[in-house]
Structure formats: structure tokens, C-alpha cells
Symmetry: C2
Amino acid sequence: MKRAVVLLSGGIDSTTAMAVAKAEGFDLYALSFRYGQRHAVELEAAKTVAALLGVKEHLVMDIRLDRIGGSALTSEIVVPKDRNEHEIGRGIPATYVPARNTIFLSVALAWAEVLQAEDIFIGVNILDYSGYPDCRTEYIDAFERMANLATRAGVEGRARIEIHTPLIAMTKAEIIKKGLDLGVDYSITHSCYDPSYGGLACGRCDSCLLRIKGFRDAGVQDPTRYVSGSL
Amino acid sequence: MKRAVVLLSGGIDSTTAMAVAKAEGFDLYALSFRYGQRHAVELEAAKTVAALLGVKEHLVMDIRLDRIGGSALTSEIVVPKDRNEHEIGRGIPATYVPARNTIFLSVALAWAEVLQAEDIFIGVNILDYSGYPDCRTEYIDAFERMANLATRAGVEGRARIEIHTPLIAMTKAEIIKKGLDLGVDYSITHSCYDPSYGGLACGRCDSCLLRIKGFRDAGVQDPTRYVSGSL
């Protein structure tokens, strides 16, 4: 079986990307990060997802991006709430974490090289998304090109790293429908950026709003437990 | 003053690259990594170098690349010794750390973005080097291109990240002469991959051999303290 490294945050997108990798027949190596995110609770979801999808290994790396800051997710900058559909995805929001996907993909690249895997999956998408620069196709293509020059494999011509973005052109509703087709149980995933409400989602941050819209557009019951009154 | 993030291991190359950045008038932000390297003693050298060169800040990030392995520097793989000049630089040696420069540059990119710096310095070079794929010009160019797509700056057209490689086409001897011209005290730098000899360098790993050759070719006294009998 071919091996794939899959970036797994525990949210809808990365969970669905992992389900796609599994359906394509890869042995799964899940990679998550404890990076100083305020919603580190997502790692519990990632652990459950990894176990349910039968990964060969789940590596949770620590890197304190909160020491660098610059994001509402890793510093005291306030997480925006109650933005409407026209605001989300226009401009780069406060929750953007500088170079996060580049750092995560770089570590995935290192692990892929050691595993002799040629395939890395990431659940980025550009329709119902937050406007992060490191989710776009041209960025992913540039990363892939760089990755094939960075590594032993690329130099020796033994292998070629491919960055898979199976969700890139899908709406959140399409992603959810795809995942349901593949048997994903979204009740175990976590999207909310705000951990203030215990196990409940705030229902008001961009991530919750995109999730809510996704289930609504898909015509599917949202299994998420939101804090009372937020919907 | 413009700010630059400088990758600093504490060896000859990164120290010289930092001296070049300083001479070019940048405010210096030094970035080092405790990545599970067997020669973590290099971080003491990095600290001394950063202080002597008057950096604004020295950030030492922790990332446990030894959990990924794949290198003689981060696992039980044996560090090669006593290789001759014809062997060093041909093929990729056991001391290659998968995707290390990509990970380090990615974190530098994140920090640069937060600092609103457009300049990142790295002391890679391709003449007297160990044969690592992520030291080559084509790799650096590809990283720079990717970096300008990855970030807020690249999307908004506010700034342009430049990866500076002032040493790329220099021999080790030329690097040492350049550094001496800039007032670098190489006695405070550390190159050896093998920490078995306390404060002394082994004199036999690739890194020591390149260092020894560099001082010899430069016609300069090597200030390094090698373990007795290794020279």
C-alpha cells in the first residue's frame, strides 16, 4: 500500500481530505500540530478522527507559533464574530496565522521523506473559505515545486512529492456531502475557534459560520452542539 | 532601519551571513532551532554570536525533528567520519535532515511577516558543502517564489519577501575571509556534529573537515579546539 501523510486539524475539511485519501487506498499517516492555538481542543477531535479512520500513525508535533504571534488564533488579538457571508473570504482575516500551512506542509514533507511517501494531503479549499493566502491553488503549486527541489527524492529522481488538495474547488456543502458519502461522522469533528464554551461551539466565529452554512446548504442536519442561543 | 530575520545555527556560515546582514544595515532578528540535533551545543554558540552582533531579538524555537528522524543528526544513524574531499559533497550524506531548511525558512517566513520584515538571510552555499539538496540555488529560488504566494504581503502586494543567500557561491575559505573582514570572531562559532568530546570538536565529521579545510585554504589560523590527535 502506498503511504500518504495527511494534515489533520480535526475539522470538517481535513477530516474529509483524510477520508478521500483512505478511499483512494493510501495507508494513512496523520499529522497534527499543537501550535499554541486557542482552540487546541481540536486535537481531541483529530485524535478521534485518526482512530476512526484507522491511521497507521498519528503524529502530533509541538511548535509554539504563539511565540511568533500575529494571529487571533495564537495571541490576544480578538477573534472576529458575526461576520456576514460577504465579509468572510474578502481580505485576510485576523485569524490568519502567518505561514501556518507552509510550516505544516514543510513538516509533512520531512515526514513523507522519512516514510518514503510521495503523497501529502491537505484539506484546503477556496470557495467557502476564510480568505487565507496559503489555501490558494497557486500557492499549493509553488509549494509542490519547491518540495521537489528541497528533498533527497527530488534530487535523486527517485520519487516525486505530490500535494493533494481533493477539496480545493468544492463548496463547504459539497465537502460535507462528499464526506457523508465516504461515511464520515461529522459529530466528532471540531471547527470552532473559540474555546470559551467548554465542549460547545460558539456559532459566531468565521469557522462556525462556514460550518453552519455548509450543513444548511447541503440540506443536512448539523450534528454540532452550539452554545445555547447562538443559532 | 529595515529588519531582517537571519537563520543562525552558530556555525561559520550562518554567523558570516548574519555579519553580512548587519553590514548591509539591517536590524537583526536571529532565529535558531532546538530540533533534537545531537549537537545542540551549537545553540550556545548561536547565543554568543547573536549577543556579539547586537541582534534586536534572538528567538530559539523548539521543534522535535528527532521524532521524525531520518538523519544522523537526529537519530541513532552514525555520523560519517574521515571522509575525503572527493566524498564530501557527492551524493546526499547521512547527516542530511529531511526538509530542515524548508521548515526553518517557513518559520522565518512567519516571523518576518509578523515583524513586517521583507528580508530573510540564510548561510547556504554550494561549493564547500555537504551535498544537501536544500542548499541549492534552484531550491532557494523556488522557496522565495512560494513564500511570496503564501503570505499576506504577497497577496496584498504590500511587500516582497527576499531570501538572501550572500554566501551561495563562496568557498569556505572565501566565507572565512569575508567574515574576518567584517570582524567576526570564529572562535565563538561551533561546527562539529559530534558532541562526544565536551567542548572540543571531533575534527573528523564532514562539518569539521570542511571547517578545517576552509581555514587552511584561507591561510588563517583555525581558532577551534579539536580533540587531541584529531588533526
